[in-house]
């Protein structure tokens, strides 16, 4: 693929509408969604449950197609999944018959990576998420948070340029969550990836993103996009700054007081 010009967005969503059949009627999960994500941008998405966040992510992942409108990645219409897009699912989606290690190696194996390198890379990402001791355990022996960490390691292992993450840290304790947030930001700034990160945690949305996309439900749509002008790295200092709390209040208001004026 050729180098994109500086202004070309990595991901663009244009006029996307998604309708699901529901008891003989139509349920509008997404309506008129326009969104552009620049190369190397980190965009977080928040919104009430059922507003279509996962639906939007599935469309970008190539697992579902819009009823109308279009989704483009790198200038080309999305047509199925691709190795440049890594996905972390809300429901972990680990293969229950494979150990943690084999789960993490799955994508490397399909990509034809040799055994020794596969093992080494899996090892690296397993210890990154702190599952060293459970490398040979089956998913049924893991807690919810550990399953989620395994799913993260599995997606990271194939080293995709674009990460589509659906509430990846949702089931984690506060400490692990902060550790993985920092880890994610480190990798993101070191290797420059384009990230779309869904969360229901307003703090998390602000601390991670360049921009926060706030969605609304019925029909699912983008309600407001808030720029986060906080410097990286987002240190503790940044987390405690008045600018941060002002931004999180803005996002909070946009998410939880959607009926009030704020149309864009």
């Amino acid at each position: 693929m050729t180098e994109q010009t500086g202004t070309a967005p990595r991901i663009s969503v244009r006029g996307v509408r998604k309708v699901f059949p529901l008891k003989g009627e139509e349920f509008v999960a997404l309506n008129g969604v326009d969104l552009e994500i620049a190369d190397n941008e980190f965009v977080t998405v928040v919104g009430p449950s059922g507003c279509g966040k996962s639906t939007l992510l599935n469309i970008l992942a190539g697992l579902d197609s819009p009823t109308s409108g279009e989704a483009l990645v790198g200038g080309a219409a999305v047509n199925g999944p691709g190795p440049e897009r890594g996905v972390i699912f809300q429901q972990y989606a680990l293969f229950p018959w494979l150990t943690v290690r084999k789960n993490v190696e799955f994508g490397l194996k399909t990509a034809g990576v040799g055994k020794a390198e596969r093992r080494e890379r899996a090892e690296h990402f397993i210890s990154l998420v702190g599952l060293d001791q459970f490398a040979d355990a089956l998913p049924k022996m893991l807690s919810g948070g550990m399953k989620q960490r395994c799913a993260i390691a599995r997606a990271y292992a194939v080293n995709p340029e674009i990460l589509l993450m659906d509430e990846p840290f949702g089931a984690l304790d506060a400490l692990t969550r902060v550790k993985l947030q920092e880890q994610l930001l480190d990798t993101w700034s070191a290797e420059k990836r384009t990230v779309m990160f869904i969360t229901h945690d307003v703090d998390e949305a602000v601390i991670l993103g360049n921009r926060v996309v706030v969605m609304a439900a019925r029909p699912g749509r983008i309600f407001e996009v808030i720029d986060v002008d906080l410097p990286y790295p987002r240190t503790e200092e940044v987390r405690l700054s008045p600018e941060f709390s002002e931004l999180r209040n803005r996002v909070w208001t946009a998410v939880y007081h959607q009926s009030e004026p704020g149309e864009h």
Partner: protein, 260 residues
């Protein structure tokens, strides 16, 4: 007395208690049989049955019958399963295959395989083929539906997870669909083996020159009750052993499942 003190003693695990009860129940059952045989019922006593078994063994008939029956049931069962698994996969994977196979499978499923024996005997003669064929059918029909159900109930998100990790159709099939439907297949195989075994013995009663069923049929003519009992016990014990072997395989192959 010993069992009573064992079961009440603290620290004995529930499973050990269960085994003790199982053994006690079997011993008690045999004692009851013995008692009834001695008191007016027209049964052979346990020693008479053992004697008949030893006698058959010494003549080499017991081994011959067991080998004949097991040979038939295993070849029919293996052929039936080998045909059922790919058919079930095709039905789960391709609508066309489902459309073609489903009416036939649903139709033949309602017919006891044994009911086809007269037809099969006429068409295939009285050698081994017709017997193996009805066993094949019994095993096939039991396994094909459960394999199909296994394939269609594979969790969609697992397939999606494999797709975003770069899996093509073949990889999704071999590394996701096959393992995910293994529990279903094994359940189908167990049902299939049970059904194959039952069908076999009945088929041997009707038409065979060797086999456990044939031995019992032969004994019936001479009013040889101990031999009939030997046959019944053999059928039960062999059936149980085969079922336990498959259960062990099932536990080994599907131990990854979360049981709630």
């Amino acid at each position: 007395m010993a069992t009573a003190s064992l079961t009440t003693r603290r620290g004995i695990s529930p499973s050990a208690r269960l085994v003790v009860l199982n053994i006690a129940s079997v011993v008690g059952g045999i004692a009851l049989w013995w008692y009834l045989a001695e008191h007016g019922f027209n049964f052979p006593t346990p020693p008479e049955v053992v004697e008949a078994a030893v006698d058959l063994w010494q003549k080499g008939l017991l081994q011959e019958d067991v080998m004949a029956s097991l040979g038939r049931v295993l070849s029919g069962f293996l052929l039936g399963t080998a045909a059922a698994v790919p058919t079930g996969f095709l039905m789960g994977w391709y609508v066309v295959a489902r459309g073609i196979f489903e009416p036939w499978i649903q139709f033949f499923r309602t017919i006891p395989p044994l009911a086809l024996l007269p037809l099969v005997l006429v068409l295939m003669g009285i050698g081994e083929t017709p017997k193996i064929f009805v066993i094949f059918l019994a095993a096939f029909l039991a396994s094909v539906i459960s394999t199909y159900q296994g394939v269609v109930s594979v969790d969609r998100t697992l397939i999606n997870a494999a797709r975003v990790l770069g899996a093509n159709d073949w990889i999704i099939f071999s590394r996701v669909v096959v393992p995910a439907s293994t529990p279903f297949i094994l359940v189908g195989m167990r049902v299939g083996l049970g059904s194959a075994w039952a069908t076999l013995v009945a088929a041997e009663l009707l038409a065979a020159q060797a086999g456990i069923g044939h031995r019992m049929q032969f004994a019936q003519i001479y009013y040889d009750l101990p031999t009939i009992f030997v046959g019944i016990v053999l059928i039960g014990v062999l059936g149980l052993i085969m079922d336990r072997l498959l259960l062990a395989a099932e536990e080994k192959l599907t131990g990854w499942q979360e049981r709630r």
